[in-house]
Structures are given as C-alpha cells and as structure tokens.
C-alpha cells in the first residue's frame, strides 16, 4: 500500500524545483540588478601563454630553489624550505595575489573567500597541516596530540550548517523533515556504513580512507571502489532514497565539483570517511574558518616570504639539463621575460599546463598530466545591506545550503564576528558547473555575462530569501576555469599519477593534482613533500 508519507516526501523535492521558474518570472519586472565585477583566474595572461608571442628572456637570474605557483601547494613548499633553514628561494605566481584556489577578496564590509573556505580539524595523518597550524598559532601545545586545543578565533561558531527544503531550514545538510520511515532508515544505514569506513584499517594499521590520501590502505577491498562511481555504489548497496542520493551528489559536487554519477566511489566515500580529527575544545565535526576562508592561512604564509614572491609572473617554458633547471617567465611588473636558473624547481601549478610548457617531458609523465579533467567553478560574493531574514526553522548558520538547487549554497563572511546586531555582511555563493562535460561547462562559464550570472544567482537564492534582490548592494562574480581535478573512477588509484611523486629530474611536483583530490590537506602534503625532496637533492635534508 502506498502511504501518504511517501507522497509527501516525493513531493518535497519537486516543490523546490518547480518554485524556481515562478520566482524567476517575478524578478523580471522587479528590482534592477546590483552592480559588481566579473573576475577570475587571469584569463588574459593565460591566453597570452597559449598563443605564444611572448618575448624571449632578456636576462638570467639564479636561485637555488624556484617554486612555480603560489597556491596552498607552493606556499606550503616555501614554508617547509623556511622551516628547514633554506630561506633562499623564489616563488613565481601568475596572479597579482597569492592563494590560487584559496584566494580571497575584501571590501569595506568584510573580507570574503574567492575559493576555498574551510579546513576540517586535521586528521591524525595530516601531520604537516597540524605543524603548519601550530606554527600559525591556531593550534596550541603538541601539534600531533590526539586532541589538540585550537584557537577559538578559527573554530567555526555555532550554528555551523543548515539546509533548506520546502520553505523550512533544518540543522545539518540532509533534510529529515517529511522523510518517510524507510528513507530515514536508509539515512541511518548510510551513516553507519560511513562510520564503519571511517574506522576501517588494514593489517598494517593503515586507515581505509586516510587524509592525505597517500596514507590510505592499498588493500584491494577498498581500492576496488575506485573502479565504480558513487552513484553505482549507492544503487549497488540498495540505497533508494532520492534525498540520500541528492545529499551524496551534493557532497561530491561540493568537494570535487563533480556529479556523483561520475565521481569515483572511493573518492565519494572518502569525503564521508576520512575526517577523524578531534579537538580538546570543539566537537570533531568542527571546521576552521575565517571571513576570508582559507585565505587567512595564505595571508600569513605569504607575509613571511613577501620579498621572495613575484606576482604577475607567468612561467611559459620549462627545461632542464645536467647543470640545472630553467624556467622562462613573463613578468607583468617589468613587462618583459626573464629566465630563472635553479638547482631544484618545485612545480606547484596545475599539472595540465606542463605538457604545453615543458620541453623533454617524458611521455609517461605528459600522459598523466594531460589525462586530468578539471571542474569549472563559480564563486559569487553578495554584499548585503543587512543579513537576510533567517526564515522559518533553524537560524542563519555559517554554511547555508539550498537542497536540490544548482548551487551549493552560501557561507556568511561575518559569521565569526562577536556581534549581536545585524549589520551589512557578505554572503559567498558557490557553484560547481558539474551538470555538463567540463569543456562545455568552461565555455558556458566564460560566455555568460556577470549580469546573467547575477540574475540566476539571485533567483536561486530568492527561493529561500525573497528579499535578497533588495538587500544586495553588489554582486561580484569570480570564475575558476580549471578549479579542481575531477576524481573520476581510476584517477585517485592511478599508479602512473602516484609515480609523479618521484619527480622528473630536478623538478618536483607539488600540486593537489598529484592526489587526484583537490583538498587543502593534499595540496599541503604535496608541497611539503616536494620541498623535502628538493632539500634532500640539495644535500640539505
């Protein structure tokens, strides 16, 4: 017998989808679009690189270690060099500011993220992340303690997250109101399965799903999961609940910018099973965050090496010989090219660029680099005259997700403030363009005007906040064309990709791409490992 409950639940998802066009119609006549800018990873410079016509280097400069890329990977490598007592390096960064995917922006109201926005409490294996946090003063006492104490400034304030469905907000990310008993049973079963994966270890004591990924077990039991997609895994394990499917898809889009029908099941499960960090003064699911997202870490790291960073520095050629490695760089500030000669080079820019720039790259390496596919992302910052009305149900949280929406929801930049009164704020909206092949999605990303994005974003968020178009003073859009590598089946477990950790001659690779998962912990691990390898090669380890 079909029960009423089932009807109610089935309707729930539909209602929100149907609501969107209704509101879209209403808007057309309504409020004019707020002003704002359209920015992104420097497309002009990128084009220039691809099209050639860059002048040949006019001068050669020398440095023992050259780092290319000032994202988390490159900055972590530089941090490790400084820690090891080798402050003599140069870091080249394409953009005018550091951070890469962890960049941030700032206006009169608040700092806000342009990309990565949080770091979960580090796992036991993420020893370098812990050491880094201790160095930055965010972790107190022994960094490798089971439950270290964290500085409250960075611990995300309660309430952390809420999800919107059918007019109501609920705590958490999986809406349970109106879910049938059968669906709830599935939620519980899924939760238990992930909890089991979380503690699963192999005979050597390695966790099935560790972070960084290299610390994970190589046991075929779990590695086999990299052969199928997350959606197939769910279906294979008899998970039918549309809500659960939507929730898992949300997780894959949120962490990997990839639809769960394409994400490897190993990666999908990794999202739920890898985080086991604990704190003396916070619950284990707490995250570290700041108004500028992970930019708070970038800001501090970059400040320690400001004189060694060259911004607007686009490496367009890479070559090595017996004596050393050279990188040809266009320096925007000097409006000319120079050649850097180094003994060791740390490549902390995305891997897909390498085959285009590096001469003499071994075919096997080139093949792995070219094999990666990248998800495009869109980040929009809405500067609001005042926070939106909280709506019915759970109060405004740091992370606010509209279930079943094309976007991934929004975070509130001013959430960490000790404020009682509502005041102007910045809302950061995220969207992974995961609904079509990456190349097509990237084209859409580049071809769509700011106004069109602004209208779409306001429509989407207005479902939960009707007054949002009136509250928004400006709406700035930031595009990440090649935001993150997509962990399709076979990517994370690819032996050829793993082999890149050995480097190529004098070149060390230090990008999250090496892991096949774009996470802070991966970028940090790769950066530190590359710096260690470079130090060893220099006889400085």
């Amino acid at each position: 017998m079909v029960t009423r409950r089932r009807f109610l639940t089935a309707t729930a998802g539909m209602a929100t989808v149907a609501a969107a066009p209704m509101i879209a119609c209403r808007r057309e006549s309504g409020t004019p679009l707020p002003p704002g800018t359209l920015a992104g990873s420097d497309a002009a410079l990128g084009h220039r690189l691809r099209e050639g016509g860059i002048p040949e280097p006019a001068e050669t400069r020398r440095t023992p270690v050259l780092i290319v890329g000032g994202g988390i990977g490159g900055l972590s490598a530089a941090w490790q060099l400084q820690r090891a007592g080798l402050p003599d390096f140069i870091l080249l960064e394409l953009e005018a500011a550091p951070g890469g995917n962890a960049r941030w922006g700032e206006n009169a109201v608040s700092a806000y993220p342009l990309g990565a926005h949080y770091l979960p409490l580090p796992t036991a294996e993420a020893t370098d992340v812990r050491a880094l946090l201790a160095d930055l003063g965010a972790l107190k006492g022994d960094p490798q303690a089971a439950r270290p104490e964290y500085d409250e400034t960075w611990l995300c304030h309660a309430p952390h997250e809420r999800v919107y469905l059918d007019g109501f907000w609920e705590e958490g990310l999986l809406p349970k109101l109106g879910a049938s008993r059968g669906e709830r049973a599935e939620f519980a079963r899924f939760h238990d399965a992930m909890a089991e994966f979380k503690v699963a270890r192999d005979l050597f004591g390695r966790r099935a799903f560790a972070l960084p990924v290299v610390a994970s077990s190589r046991d075929a039991r779990w590695r086999a999961l990299d052969g199928i997609t997350m959606a197939d895994w769910l279906i294979g394990h008899d998970y039918r609940s549309p809500r659960l499917h939507a929730y898992v898809d949300y997780a894959c889009r949120d962490d990997y910018g990839t639809d769960y029908r394409q994400t490897s099941a190993w990666a999908g499960i990794h999202y739920f099973a890898c985080r086991n960090g604990e704190a003396a003064n916070a619950a284990s699911d707490t995250v570290l965050t700041a108004p500028e997202g992970n930019g708070w870490i970038v800001r501090r790291l970059a400040a320690r090496m400001e004189s060694q960073i060259r911004y607007g520095a686009a490496v367009f050629r890479l070559a090595q010989d017996r004596a050393g490695v050279s990188a040809d760089v266009w320096l925007e500030a000097e409006r000319r090219s120079v050649r850097y000669r180094a003994e060791q080079l740390i490549w902390a820019a995305p891997l897909f660029l390498l085959p285009k720039l590096a001469t003499g790259l071994p075919p096997a390496v080139a093949a792995v680099c070219a094999a990666g596919t990248y998800a495009p992302w869109l980040v929009a910052n809405l500067t609001l005259r005042e926070p939106p009305a909280p709506g019915a149900g759970a109060p405004l949280a740091w992370d606010n997700v509209l279930f079943d929406a094309p976007g991934l929801g929004y975070v509130m930049a001013t959430h960490q403030q000790l404020r009682l009164a509502p005041g102007p704020t910045v809302m950061t909206y995220y969207r992974a363009l995961a609904d079509r092949p990456p190349a097509e999605a990237r084209q859409l990303l580049l071809d769509t005007s700011r106004e069109a994005w602004a209208a779409a974003i306001l429509d989407e968020l207005s479902r939960a906040h009707r007054e949002l178009p009136q509250l928004t003073a400006r709406l700035d859009v930031y595009r990440h064309g090649h935001a993150m590598i997509r962990p399709l089946p076979g990517v994370v477990g690819d032996e050829a990709r793993a082999a890149l950790a050995r480097g190529w001659g004098r070149v060390r690779f230090a990008h999250a791409d090496l892991s096949g998962l774009s996470l802070f912990e991966e970028a940090n691990y790769r950066g530190v490992a590359a710096a260690r390898a470079a130090l060893t090669a220099l006889g400085r380890a």
Binding site: A19, A158, D166, R419, L420, A421
Partner: protein, 512 residues
C-alpha cells in the same frame, strides 16, 4: 421520480473523488506545516519544534491509516464524518493554540501534541478510505497511479502556496481556518455526490453546514482573535510600545508597577527592580573603594547606572547599549527618568550605542568595574556574549584588580545554564564568585563576579540601600542544595551549548 434525480454514474464520480483527494492532500500537508510553524514561532527558533511536530504528525498519520482497515461498513459516511472533523479541528487548531498560549491556559506542549496527534490520525484515515471508495469503481493498478498523482499534486500545491503566499499574507491562524473550510466543503460535496447511498444524510449535512459556518465566522473574526491574544499576553496597560531594528520594547503600567518587556520577556518590574540592581552592582563595587571608571554593557534602562552613581568616587561611567531607542526612551520619558533617578543625564556618564563585542574590540580603555547586563541567552546571537571568547575580550578591559559582574539568569530555574556561565568565565581564565538574590517578579536570580583576585564580600555598604545589608551578603554566596554547583562544560562559540541548555531549561519551566 427517483430516476430523474439519479446519482452520477460510477465513472462520473471518479473525477470528483480524485479532485477531493487533491484537496484533502493539500489540507493534510497544510495542517502539518501550520502546526510546525506555529510551534517554532511560539516556542522559539529551534528546529526541535519542527522535527518533533512533524514526527508526531507522521506517526499519527500512520495510526490513522492503520485504523482505516477497521472501518468495515459505511465507507462514505465515515469519510464525510472524518472530513467534517478534520475541517473543524484542523481548521481551529492554530487559532486555539495561539489563544491557549497567550492565556497560559494549561500546559501548552501537551495541548500542541494532542492537537497534532488528533488531526494527524484523522488525516491518516482519509486517503486509504477514498482509495477504498474508488476501488469499487476502477481497476486497482490504475487507481494507485491516479490517487498517487492527485495526492502528490495536492501536496505540491500547498508546499508552494504555504511559504510563498499563505504564511506571509494570511498568517497561520487564517491559513488554518481556510484549509478547515476546504475540508468541510469536501464533506458537503461528498454528501452531494453520494446523496442516494447515504443513510442519515440530513444529520451529516447539518453538521457540515455548521462546520462551514463556524470556520467562516472564525476566518472573518481572526483579526479580533489576535488582538485578544496580545491583550492577554500583557495583562496591564501598555504605556509605550515600539519596534526597533533590534527588538520590541513594551512598557506597561498597572497602578504603581511599571514593567519593561523586551521581545515579550520581562526585564524589570518597578516594585522590586531595586533588589535586582542592588544585587547586580553592590556586592562587587562595594569591594572596590579605589574604583574610578565603570563600564556597563547592556542595561540601557539606566538602572544599574543609578546604583553605580551612588558612589561619589566614581569619575566616569560608560554605558554601551546597542539600541538608541532604549537609552533614548529612558532618558526622555518622565516616569522612567524618575525610576532611574535621571541617571542617563549624569555628567559622569557617556552613552554609546554600539554592539558590545565590536565596541570592546575597537576600544582599549581599562575599567575598574564592568557590568555585563545582557538579556538571557535565548538565541545564538546573544549567546555569543556569554562565551569564553567574549569573556577573554572583556578581560582585556579589566584593570589590574578590577572585577566583572555578569547577570546570569536563574540558578533555580536554569541551574545548568547558570553554572555553565561560571565554567565559561573560569575557562576564560577568571576566578569566579557566584551569588543569588530573591527578586519576587523574577524568582531566585543569579549573578557571577569574576576577576583575577579572590573575592570577599564587603564588610559594610557605604551607600544607601533598600535591599542589601552587609550582614546578609555572605549568605547570598551560599547555594542551597537545589541550586548547588554542577559540573558543566564552558560555553564555546563553536558549539554554543549555553543556548541549547537555556532553551531546554526555560521551556521546561514555562510548560510545567
């Protein structure tokens, strides 16, 4: 003659039945949403309200559909009776609960869940019954699909209408009555369609008309109902009411008793506020003969400032209150100025209308005595002002031997909350001395002194007081067994345990 008014054919009834499924489904979901929204509106912004109401409702619907199997005869009559009952009960639920809440009539939660369960059971009975009525007319597989899609459409319609149109424009009470009307009309319609097959039709018809009339009258008079309820909420004459960007300020007066309510919470009653404010200020300030500079956070009514200004050696008092409407009101209205002894006009006083957290971050002065007189931690935003991070920030403004006093809710009604604040102050590196005083209009109330030195109660009070004596003060620091200290985790911003604890404790009190 009978042939002339023949009943519609079996096929002809199918569509009306399906339409009634649509309507019935819409109403069923509406009652669920209304009860949930009403509970979270009246009982606070917690998601627990919503989850428990929906859970209870779904559970009751389950019982309903199970019960439907026991309906053996007179399917149609039963269906009509149920529709009338759902219409009347479901329709008036929101109105009745609202009035009951305002009138403090009985344990509100029990009424709420009773209503939810009764309506839920009735709604749970509906669809299986219609299904069985229809089954007599169509093939089963076809039937399931149709019922499914109509039920589905009904729920879809409401889930769109409710948040977008009904709740914002009609309000919960009127929306409820509207859906009640729909149910009652479905009953009438059913009576019409099956007019030839029903025994006792007259009686049912009478009942259905009565329900329609009642619900209609209720709908028309809903405005009065709401006013009535507000009147009950404030038993006395309202002499000032104002909604500011931060809160709703209401001042009432009955004979000599002036009361201030912020967001419906009593802040003071002029008959005994001196007890509260003497207890807040003097046990701390009387031990600081060298104090010159005092900071008051919150307390825009100027009553704490009045007590502080009794000490001639105090040179400067800074009052930081968020709401200019509060400090404005208490420095203008003659009755209120009389109450605070015109403290807000003192030349020693500087009034700052700012957010306490921001102001503390942006200023660097030190104070000998700091009073934190904030509203109770009823929401996450206020909870921040009772956190380890906030007390660390306050500590940065405390002079070498200075002291902080925190108004800390009731150690009797909210014992765990009270001791959570003590644990929080200690986690922020302060030494605490907790005490309590009886303020009749509040009950047993709590305060905590915090600083870096040990505390000893004053040997005497040099200023005129109506409540405190030096002899009784040490006893205030003794806690009887039912308020004695319990071990609590400090309130940290990353979990805000205090807000949840406080909510549980006061809810328990309100609905005892």
């Amino acid at each position: 003659m009978a042939e002339a008014v023949a009943a519609p054919t079996a096929a002809g009834r199918q569509l009306p039945l399906l339409i009634s499924i649509f309507l019935v489904a819409a109403c069923g979901l509406a009652y669920e949403l209304i009860a949930g929204a009403l509970a979270s509106y009246l009982l606070g912004d917690s998601v627990t309200q919503f989850s428990t109401v929906i859970g209870a409702y779904l559970f009751a619907m389950g019982i309903g559909s199970w019960l439907s199997r026991h309906v053996r005869r007179d399917l149609i009559g039963t269906f009509v009776r149920i529709e009338i009952a759902v219409g009347a009960l479901g329709g008036f639920t929101a109105a009745a609960l609202f009035l009951a809440f305002a009138a403090h009539a009985g344990p509100f939660r029990i009424l709420l869940y009773a209503a939810v369960l009764v309506v839920g059971v009735l709604v749970g009975l509906e669809i299986p019954l219609v299904m069985r009525i229809l089954r007599r007319e169509v093939a089963f597989s076809d039937l399931v699909a149709r019922v499914l899609s109509f039920d589905y459409l009904g729920a879809l319609a409401v889930s769109l209408l409710f948040p977008l149109l009904l709740a914002p424009h009609l309000g919960l009470v009127r929306s409820g009555l509207l859906f009640g009307l729909v149910n009652a009309l479905v009953a009438l319609w059913g009576l019409h369609i099956f007019r030839l097959e029903l025994a006792g039709r007259r009686l049912l018809q009478g009942a259905a008309f009565a329900a329609v009339a009642l619900l209609g009258a209720g709908f028309a008079g809903a405005g009065h109902l709401t006013t009535l309820a507000e009147g009950w909420l404030y038993a006395d004459d309202i002499i000032h009411a104002e909604t500011t960007p931060y809160q709703r300020i209401v001042v009432t007066r009955w004979r000599d008793d002036i009361r201030l309510f912020l967001n419906q919470n009593l802040q003071f009653s002029s008959t005994d506020e001196y007890r509260y404010h003497e207890a807040l200020v003097h046990p701390g300030l009387a031990t600081l003969p060298g104090a010159r500079r005092v900071l008051v956070l919150g307390g825009g009514d100027g009553l704490a400032v009045r007590e502080i200004l009794k000490y001639p050696q105090i040179e400067a008092v800074t009052l930081v209150d968020l709401d200019p409407a509060m400090t404005g009101l208490f420095s203008r209205a003659p009755l209120l100025r009389q109450l605070n002894g015109d403290a807000l006009h003192s030349p020693k006083l500087t009034v700052v209308n700012a957010d306490a957290g921001r102001w503390l971050e942006e200023n660097s002065e030190y104070y000998d005595f700091i009073v934190a007189d904030f509203p109770d931690p009823t929401a996450y935003a206020i909870g921040k002002l009772y956190s380890t991070a906030f007390y660390r920030l306050v500590d940065k403004h405390l002079a070498a031997h200075g002291r902080l006093v925190v108004q800390t809710t009731s150690p009797f009604y909210a014992r765990r909350s009270f001791w959570t604040v003590a644990a929080t102050l200690e986690a922020a590196g302060l030494r605490t001395a907790a005490y309590h005083a009886l303020v009749p209009s509040f009950g047993e109330w709590g305060f905590i002194l915090a600083g870096h030195d040990d505390y000893a109660p004053p040997m005497r009070y040099e200023v005129p007081l109506r409540f405190l004596t030096a002899a009784m003060t040490p006893a205030l620091f003794q806690f009887p067994a039912d308020m004695a200290r319990i071990d609590m985790e400090p309130n940290r911003l990353n979990d805000q345990s205090l807000v949840r604890t406080f909510e549980q404790e006061w809810r328990h009190v309100q609905h005892q």
